[in-house]
C-alpha cells in the first residue's frame, strides 16, 4: 500500500509546533540545546510512525522512552502527548494507535526508570552504609586499641550502674576478672572513705544533671586490699540527650595516696601516743567553727597531768613516755563511747573536743570521766605511778568565741584548776577569764615553763668593800622563754606573784640554790659565800614558806646561817601583816633576812627596829646617780650624805649594809670610805652561771 499524499500538510506542521511547545513547557531544567535535540529526535520518530506502513508502534514507544529518560516524567506530559497524538488527522485510526503506543512506551520506560532509580538509591544506601560501617569499624578498632592498651583504667557502665566493659588496666587495678565486675554494679563499689560528694555527683551524672565529675576515690580490690584512684566519670547521652552510658577513667594513685596518707598522718598525729596532734586538733576545731550554726555549742576539756615532771625527772624520759602512752590510752578508752576527739597538744597536755553539746554538764561529765579514768595508778616497769590531772572545762556557744580564744580560755581555766589544788576540774568563768587573759602571755606559759625546765638560776657576787672578797651571792631566776628569749625576774615575777605561781617557782629557786650552795663550804671552806635568795610579798605571807625552807635546808644540808632571804620593803614593813609571823619563824630556823631595794619606797624607819632583819640592801638606783670622788657637785654631795646617813642608821641597828648598783671602782672606794660593808653591781660582777660564780669563789684563798 502506497502512502497517500498527506492532505493536510499544514496540520503536520501544526503538530510539530504543538509538540515542541509541549516539551518546552515540561523541560525547564533542560538546556535549550538539549531540548532542541530531544525535540528533533522525538519528532523524527513520531514522523516515522505516521508514515510507515504498516503501522509500527516501536518508534512511538522509543520516543516516549527517550522523553522519560530525559526526565520528562511528569504525568502532564503524558496527558499532553496523548492529546496531541490523538488529535492528528491520520487515517486508519493511526492517531489512536500512536497515542496508545506512546502511553505504553512511556509507562514501560517510567516503570524501568522507577525501578532503576529505586535500585540506584538502594545501592547508594548500601554503599553509604558500608562506608559508614567501615569508618565505624576503623574508629572502633582505633578505639578498642586505645581502650585495651591504655595505661589508665577505663570502664563503661549503663545508667543503672551495670558494668558493661572494663579494660585491662582497670582489671589489673581491681585485681578482678571482667566477669567479676560484670556481676556488680557501680553502686556496690562504695568505700567507707568515700566523700559524700562522690555519690551525690554520681547521682547527678546518671540523671543527666552533669556531664562529668572528678575525684580521688578508693576501691576494694578483689583481694580485699584498697586501691586509690583518681577518677573521672563522664556521661554519654543518647542522640535525644537522655543519659545512655557512663564512662569511668581511673588512674591508680595508691602509692601517691599512701605516701600522702602517711605524711598526713605524720603531720596530724602525735608519734608517741598516736593521738591527733595539736595541728589536727586546731584543724578540727576550726572546721567546727566554720560549719557551726548560730546556736551550736561545743566544749573543751583542757587536761594537764599533775606531777608529770617528777616522773620524768625521777624515773627517766622512757618511763615518762610510757606514762603518756598509758594515759592517752586510758583517756581514749574512757571517752570512746562518746566519740569526742582526744588530742595531745604537747608535753603532758591533752584536750578533748566536744561537738554539738547541750550544756555545761556534758563537758563536766567528760572531765569527770577523764579524772576517774586516771584514778587508778599506772603500772610501768614495776612502778606504780599515781597520775592525777587537772582539767579546765569550757562549754560555750560557738558564735560567742573564736578557736584561739576558746583554747586560751580553757587553758586559763585549767590553770585555775591547778591553782586550786590539782586533781580537779574547773569550769570556765567569763569574768575570771577576762582578768586572766591580760596576763595570759606570761602566766599561761609559766606553769608549763617550770615543768619544762625553762627557768634557770644565775648568781651575782656581793663583795666586801674592805677587801673586795666574795661575801655572798644572790641567786637570780631567769626564764628562757621559748618565744621571748631570756627574761629577768623583773619581767615575770610580778605576774608569778599575781597568779600565785610564785609559790612553786620560789620553791624551785630555793631548792636549786640551796642544793648548790650546800656544796660550797666543802669546796671553799670558810670563804664560801653566803647565799641570798629573794622572797616576794606573796611568799612572805604564805604559811607554807617556813615549812618549805625548813624542808629544803634539811633536804640539801645547807647551813641555815649561810642562807639570807631578801624581802622587799613592801613585804617587810607591814608588821601587822601575818608576814611578820612568817619572818620570825624563818629567823627562828637560823636563816637571816635582809631588806631588799631599801630606799626606793616610803619606809617607816622605826619598823626596822622591830623587824627580825640583819641586813639592808641600798637600792642600786640610789648609788647609780652618784659620781666618784672627783670634783663632786652639790647634788652628789647630798647624795653621798644620804648614803652616809644610811650607813650610820644600819650600823646603829646592827645591820650589814650592801650597796647595790656599784658600777665603778670610784664608787666602790667612796662607799668603802663611808663605811658601807658590802657592794653589789657590775663593778664586782654581773649575774653569772653557777659554774662561773664557783670559779670566782675559788679564787679567794681558803681560810685555814
Amino acid at each position: 500500500m502506497t502512502a497517500a499524499p498527506d492532505p493536510e500538510r499544514g496540520t503536520a506542521d501544526g503538530f510539530q509546533d504543538a509538540w515542541s511547545n509541549l516539551l518546552r513547557c515540561q523541560s525547564m531544567s533542560l538546556h535549550p540545546r538539549s531540548l532542541r535535540r530531544i525535540t528533533a529526535s522525538t519528532t523524527a520518530l513520531l514522523q516515522r510512525a505516521t508514515q510507515e506502513s504498516p503501522f509500527d508502534a516501536a518508534p512511538v514507544e522509543q520516543a516516549a522512552a527517550q522523553l522519560v529518560n530525559a526526565h520528562f516524567t511528569d504525568l502532564r506530559l503524558l496527558a499532553g502527548a496523548v492529546d496531541l497524538l490523538q488529535a492528528q488527522a491520520l487515517p486508519d485510526r493511526r492517531s489512536t494507535a500512536m497515542a496508545g503506543a506512546f502511553a505504553v512506551g512511556w509507562a514501560a520506560a517510567l516503570r524501568d526508570r522507577t525501578l532503576r532509580e529505586q535500585d540506584s538509591i538502594r545501592i547508594a544506601v548500601d554503599a553509604a552504609r558500608l562506608e559508614a560501617e567501615e569508618a565505624l569499624r576503623a574508629s572502633e578498632t582505633r578505639f578498642r586499641a586505645l581502650f585495651e592498651t591504655a595505661a589508665i583504667g577505663i570502664g563503661i557502665g549503663d545508667i543503672d550502674g551495670r558494668i558493661l566493659a572494663a579494660n585491662r588496666s582497670l582489671l589489673e587495678m581491681f585485681g578482678a576478672r571482667l566477669e567479676d565486675l560484670q556481676d556488680r554494679k557501680v553502686d556496690d563499689l562504695v568505700h567507707p572513705e568515700d566523700t559524700p560528694d562522690v555519690w551525690t555527683a554520681y547521682d547527678e551524672l546518671v540523671h543527666g544533671k552533669r556531664e562529668s565529675f572528678q575525684c580521688d576515690k578508693p576501691y576494694y580490690r578483689g583481694d580485699g586490699e584498697v586501691v586509690w584512684t583518681h577518677l573521672t566519670v563522664s556521661l554519654i547521652r543518647h542522640e535525644d540527650g537522655s543519659p545512655r552510658y557512663q564512662v569511668a577513667m581511673m588512674e591508680d594513685i595508691t602509692d601517691r595516696y599512701r605516701l600522702q596518707d602517711r605524711l598526713r598522718h605524720q603531720a596530724t598525729h602525735d608519734p608517741l601516743t598516736g593521738l591527733p596532734n595539736r595541728a589536727a586538733f586546731f584543724e578540727r576545731l576550726e572546721q567546727l567553727f566554720d560549719t557551726a550554726g548560730p546556736t551550736t555549742r561545743f566544749g573543751l576539756c583542757y587536761i594537764d597531768l599533775d606531777g608529770f615532771k617528777v616522773v620524768n625527772d625521777s624515773l627517766g624520759h622512757d618511763t615518762g613516755d610510757q606514762l603518756l602512752i598509758k594515759v592517752a590510752g586510758r583517756i581514749t578508752t574512757a571517752l570512746a563511747p562518746t566519740g569526742h576527739l582526744v588530742a595531745r597538744l604537747g608535753g603532758d597536755e591533752f584536750v578533748v573536743l566536744l561537738e554539738d553539746t547541750r550544756d555545761e554538764t556534758e563537758a563536766v561529765e567528760v572531765a569527770q570521766t577523764v579524772l576517774a579514768a586516771l584514778d587508778e595508778p599506772v603500772h610501768i616497769g614495776g612502778h606504780k605511778l599515781a597520775v592525777g590531772a587537772s582539767i579546765g572545762v569550757l562549754e560555750r556557744r560557738v558564735a560567742s568565741t573564736t578557736p584561739d580564744a576558746a583554747v586560751r580560755a580553757a587553758d586559763l581555766t585549767l590553770y585555775r584548776a591547778k591553782e586550786a589544788g590539782r586533781g580537779r576540774w574547773t569550769l570556765f568563768n567569763a569574768q575570771r577569764n577576762a582578768r586572766m587573759v591580760s596576763r595570759y602571755s606570761m602566766s599561761v606559759r609559766m606553769p608549763k615553763a617550770l615543768d619544762r625546765g625553762e627557768f634557770f638560776l644565775e648568781y651575782q657576787p656581793l663583795c666586801a668593800l674592805a677587801d673586795g672578797s666574795l661575801a655572798a651571792v644572790e641567786a637570780l631566776v631567769r626564764w628562757r622563754h621559748p618565744l621571748l628569749g631570756v627574761l629577768g625576774p623583773d619581767e615575770f615575777v610580778a605576774t608569778a606573784e599575781d597568779t600565785g605561781l610564785i609559790l612553786p617557782l620560789g620553791r624551785w629557786v630555793l631548792e636549786q640554790a640551796c642544793a648548790r650552795a650546800a656544796e660550797w663550804p666543802r669546796r671553799f671552806g670558810t670563804t664560801a659565800p653566803q647565799l641570798n635568795v629573794n622572797i616576794t610579798a606573796h611568799q612572805a605571807r604564805s604559811r607554807g614558806l617556813v615549812a618549805d625552807v625548813a624542808r629544803i635546808l634539811h633536804g640539801t644540808g645547807l647551813d641555815p646561817r649561810r642562807l639570807q632571804l631578801e624581802i622587799t620593803e613592801s613585804a617587810a614593813l607591814r608588821p601587822q601583816d601575818e608576814s611578820l609571823e612568817v619572818l620570825n619563824a624563818l629567823v627562828d630556823l637560823g636563816v637571816s633576812l635582809s631588806v631588799d631595794d631599801f630606799g626606793t619606797g616610803w619606809s617607816n624607819l622605826t619598823y626596822l627596829r622591830d623587824l627580825p632583819v640583819s641586813a639592808l640592801k641600798l637600792s642600786g638606783s640610789f648609788i647609780g646617780e652618784l659620781d666618784g670622788d672627783e670634783q663632786p657637785g652639790d647634788a652628789d654631795n647630798a647624795g653621798w650624805a644620804i648614803v652616809g646617813g644610811v650607813v650610820a642608821l644600819s650600823h646603829s641597828l646592827g645591820l650589814t649594809l650592801t650597796a647595790e648598783g656599784v658600777e665603778t671602782a670610784a664608787a666602790a672606794e667612796r662607799l668603802r670610805q663611808l663605811g658601807c660593808d658590802w657592794g653589789q653591781g657590775w663593778h664586782f660582777g654581773r649575774p653569772m652561771a653557777p659554774e662561773a660564780i664557783e670559779q670566782l669563789a675559788g679564787h679567794f684563798p681558803k681560810s685555814p
Partner: protein, 268 residues
C-alpha cells in the same frame, strides 16, 4: 575536624531526608516511604511545591548556563543532593565539554548516589563535607584543587542555606567561601524566603523540623546580605522565575508564588 560517624544512624531510612524529598518533588524515585510521606504531606499543605522545585531546578540550569556563557567552566555545587534532573555538569558541558564540577553534600546517601552516577567521569568529583564546617570543606583535596587560584569558579548554594540555622551563622559560612574563591568567581544562591507566601512559612518549616535538616526561611534583606563582597548580576535578588527567563513569557502571573529568592553575584 572531620566528624566521625560513630553509628550508621545517620543513614536512617525511616527519617525523611531533604535530598530525597526534593527528588520526589521533581518526580524522581530516589526516595523511600518516609521521604514520600513527608513530601506528600508538604504538597498537601502547599500544592505548588513541585512547581517551586522545578522552578528552582530551572533557575539552577539558567544560572549555570549564564555562567558557562561567561566563560566559567569550574563549578562547586554545595548541597548538590541527588542531582538527576539537569545536573550541573550536563548543563555546563553544553558549552564546554571539559567543564569540571565538584559536588558536595553532607548526606552520605546522596554522596554515594552521586558517585555511582559519575563514577567514570574524571572531571567530576563528589565530596562528603558539610557547609557548616567550612574549614573542613575547603580543606578537601578535590575542593582545594578546584579552587586553586587563576580560574574563576561558580559556587552554587542552591536551596541549601535555608538548611543552615541562624545559630550556625550562615553569613559567616558564605563569607568563608567568598574569601576562598579566586577573583571573578560567582556565587549562585537560591534561598527559601519568608516573602511571597508568609502563610506557608510556618507549617512548611514544621514539616522540615522532622528531618535531619530543619528549614530556616529568611527575609529578602537577610538573603541579599549573603552577597556581601559580591557584585550582583542583573536583575539582582528576585523571585525564582524572574531571574533571566528563557523567554519573557516564561514568567507566570505570580512569580512571588515561587517563593525562592535567587541571585548571582561575582567576586570582583
Amino acid at each position: 575536624m572531620r566528624r566521625e560517624n560513630w553509628t550508621p544512624g545517620w543513614i536512617d531510612l525511616d527519617t525523611p531526608n531533604a535530598a530525597r524529598m526534593y527528588d520526589y518533588y521533581l518526580g524522581g524515585s530516589h526516595n523511600f516511604p518516609a521521604d514520600r510521606e513527608a513530601a506528600r504531606e508538604a504538597i498537601g499543605l502547599w500544592p505548588e511545591l513541585p512547581a517551586i522545585m522545578r522552578a528552582n531546578r530551572s533557575f539552577l540550569r539558567r544560572a549555570v548556563q549564564y555562567l558557562a556563557g561567561e566563560g566559567i567552566s569550574r563549578f562547586l555545587d554545595i548541597g548538590s543532593g541527588i542531582p538527576t534532573l539537569g545536573p550541573v555538569h550536563e548543563v555546563a558541558r553544553e558549552d564546554d565539554p571539559q567543564a569540571r564540577v565538584v559536588y558536595v553534600d553532607r548526606d552520605p546517601v546522596a554522596v554515594a548516589h552521586s558517585r555511582l552516577l559519575v563514577a567514570d567521569d574524571p572531571l567530576i568529583k563528589v565530596v562528603e563535607a558539610d557547609l557548616t564546617e567550612p574549614e573542613d570543606l575547603l580543606a578537601q583535596p578535590e575542593v582545594k584543587e578546584l579552587l586553586r587560584p587563576g580560574e574563576p569558579v561558580g559556587v552554587l548554594l542552591v536551596a541549601v542555606l535555608h538548611f543552615v540555622t541562624d545559630a550556625q551563622h550562615p553569613h559567616r559560612l558564605v563569607g568563608a567561601l567568598r574569601d576562598a574563591i579566586p577573583p571573578g568567581s560567582a556565587l549562585v544562591l537560591c534561598h527559601a524566603s519568608l516573602e511571597g507566601r508568609p502563610d506557608q512559612a510556618g507549617p512548611h518549616q514544621q514539616i522540615y523540623a522532622r528531618t535531619a535538616t530543619p528549614l530556616t526561611m529568611r527575609s529578602r534583606e537577610q538573603i541579599t546580605a549573603f552577597f556581601d563582597g559580591f557584585e550582583l548580576v542583573d536583575p539582582g535578588v528576585v523571585f525564582l522565575p524572574e531571574w533571566r527567563p528563557d523567554l519573557p513569557e516564561s514568567i507566570e502571573a505570580h512569580p512571588e508564588r515561587m517563593t525562592g529568592l535567587v541571585g548571582v553575584g561575582r567576586r570582583p
